[in-house]
Amino acid sequence: MGLNKYIIKRIILLVFLLWAVSTMIFFLIHLIPGDPVVSILGEGANQQDIERLRNQLGLNKPLIEQYISYFKDILNFNLGNSIFNNKSVISNILEYLPNTIYLAIFSMIIAILISFTAGTISAFKENTITDSVITFLSSSALAIPNFFLGPLLIILFSIKLGWFPVSGSEGFKYLILPSITLGTSLSAYLTRIVRVSISKELKKPYVLFARAKGLSEKHIFFHHILKNAMIPIITTIGLQFGALLTGSIVTETVFSWQGIGVLLIRSINRRDYPLVQGLIIFITFVYLFINFAVDISYFFISPAIRKEIEKK
């Protein structure tokens, strides 16, 4: 199987999942007990308002018709309008998205810095006390919820030391604590993967051979070991984007960082169903596309995987 065939197969799977996920979200909203219109307007709303909103949301049409128009809308990137501010769902998302992207990028940078340093040290000092301490710390980072670590950092760095602002999203200064919070939890898992994949490579004969050839340790590490260890690490980074997307919901809430996570929780509390639906579709689609990109990237990074795919 060549590259083209592999990519086509992955695209078919992607399209299927996009369809299935949006269908599931559609039925979630339409088959739940209770009337969304009533819960948006509250129990005491008068019949006229209920009918008007029902018309506006298209909920009075037969289910099949709603389903078809729902798909037409998705294909046209039209996710409806927010009930709360009447702007389109897309423009709401675009307004909040940059903040989430900044947070994602900075937390990922922090996570990569922490995990490559800690994981490499751990791998080189395998089964020593240093290794155990790093392993224990990464388990702790995995166990500490973002909504606990965040306030702890605020207490320490904002209230006691006064270095960073408590919350808000007015500039770079406001980004640091949220990024450390999210980056720490991301680094937990990544550290283990870095440690395992580097220590696996360290034991391979080519390392011994390279040393025998007299290559410097630095050269061996950066040109040979790291390159081979990258595959599982990149996979994990790719898959961690899911954790990044949902982790940012909690972290943004802790720091009132105005990203799409805050927007999602706010619209859930306001019962702004079109916006909630749009955000869930958007976040899931982004996640699926990233996974798709990770899968395709194997092909270019690893000759071994490429050969395996080509053989099939």
């Binding site: 299927f16 999942l17 299935a20 996920v21 599931m24 979200i25 979630l28 909203i29 739940i32 007990p33 209770g34 388990s139 702790s140 995995l142 166990a143 500490i144 919820p145 973002n146 909504f147 606990f148 306030p151 702890l152 605020i154 207490i155 209230i159 408590v166 984007f241 899911g242 954790a243 997307l245 949902t246 982790g247 919901i249 909690v250 809430t253 802790v254 999602l264 929780i265 859930i268 509390n269 909630v276 869930i280 976040i283 899931t284 996640y287 699926l288």
Partner: protein
């Protein structure tokens, strides 16, 4: 099987200490989570050992109540999802064909949602409540068991011992319950113990975000959330429930990892 397993031991000891101190706290202090607005935000005293929260509830009672609620939620979710997921996996593997394809596609679809987003979606479209949370978390966690049990059953389905069991007319149930299921059991146990920490984390996150249980029911997530309003003057409102939550989660991580190593399973 590795015998000397420090992680597993630390996990079990830590969890026992936490649970025991919660029980002792309950026995000494009792549980009183009634809202009492006359006693809002009181400092610690003989009557309220850790003080009160912004609704005038005894903070210690709230923490004990919330911790047990988390453990209860996790127990129910793990039980339902392991039984349901394993059954689907087993049925899928043994029947094959269209049933297998459909159930595995459903698994793929559920796995397409990142992290707790699916649970957030489910909880936000349903009404708030304990069973809504249980349903939402079960919905996203049964798929793990289905995948594992399916692949384990597929591996052994055509083994010699199954064929010979069939040859002397073992019933379908006998093959499943005394041959295939015991082989998958270590995998199910490891998956269950590894998933507990994630479930407790998701449950408390939903409550922290205010889309879980109603705020008059104390949960660790909700306690931390309400403590954020008093971060300047009473940071212990965040720190105490946070530490308990952290200890519960980390002991389950150790237990899960320890069991995984003990059974030498690579999940």
């Amino acid at each position: 099987m590795k015998k000397n397993n420090i992680q597993l031991r630390i996990g079990i000891v830590l969890l026992s200490i936490v649970v025991l101190s919660l029980i002792i706290g309950y026995l000494i202090n009792g549980i009183n989570i009634e809202i009492n607005l006359e006693h809002r935000l009181e400092a610690s005293s003989k009557r309220f050992l850790l003080g009160t929260d912004e609704l005038g509830r005894d903070l210690l009672s709230c923490i004990i109540y919330g911790a047990f609620l988390s453990l209860l939620t996790a127990t129910i979710v793990v039980t339902i999802s392991s039984v349901f997921g394993s059954s689907i996996g087993m049925i899928s593997a043994l029947s094959g064909g269209i049933i297998d394809t459909i159930s595995m596609r459903i698994v793929d679809i559920i796995l397409s949602f990142p992290g707790i987003l699916l649970a957030i979606a489910l909880v936000s479209f349903f009404n708030q409540g304990f069973w809504a949370i249980v349903f939402a978390l079960t919905f996203s966690s049964w798929v793990g068991y289905a995948r594992i049990v399916r692949s384990e059953a597929l591996k052994h389905k055509n083994s010699l011992f199954i064929i010979s069991a069939k040859s002397y007319n073992s019933s379908f149930f006998r093959i499943v319950f005394s041959h295939l299921l015991p082989l998958s059991l270590p995998l199910i146990i490891v998956q269950a113990s590894l998933s507990v920490s994630g479930i407790i984390l998701s449950e408390s996150s939903l409550n922290f975000l205010g889309i879980g249980l109603k705020p008059d029911i104390p949960t660790l997530g909700q306690l931390i959330d309400s403590g954020r309003g008093h971060i300047f003057d009473r940071s212990e409102m965040i720190i105490y429930p946070g530490i308990i939550l952290f200890l519960i989660i980390i002991s389950f991580i150790f237990i899960g990892e320890g069991l995984r190593k003990r059974f030498e399973i690579d999940l």
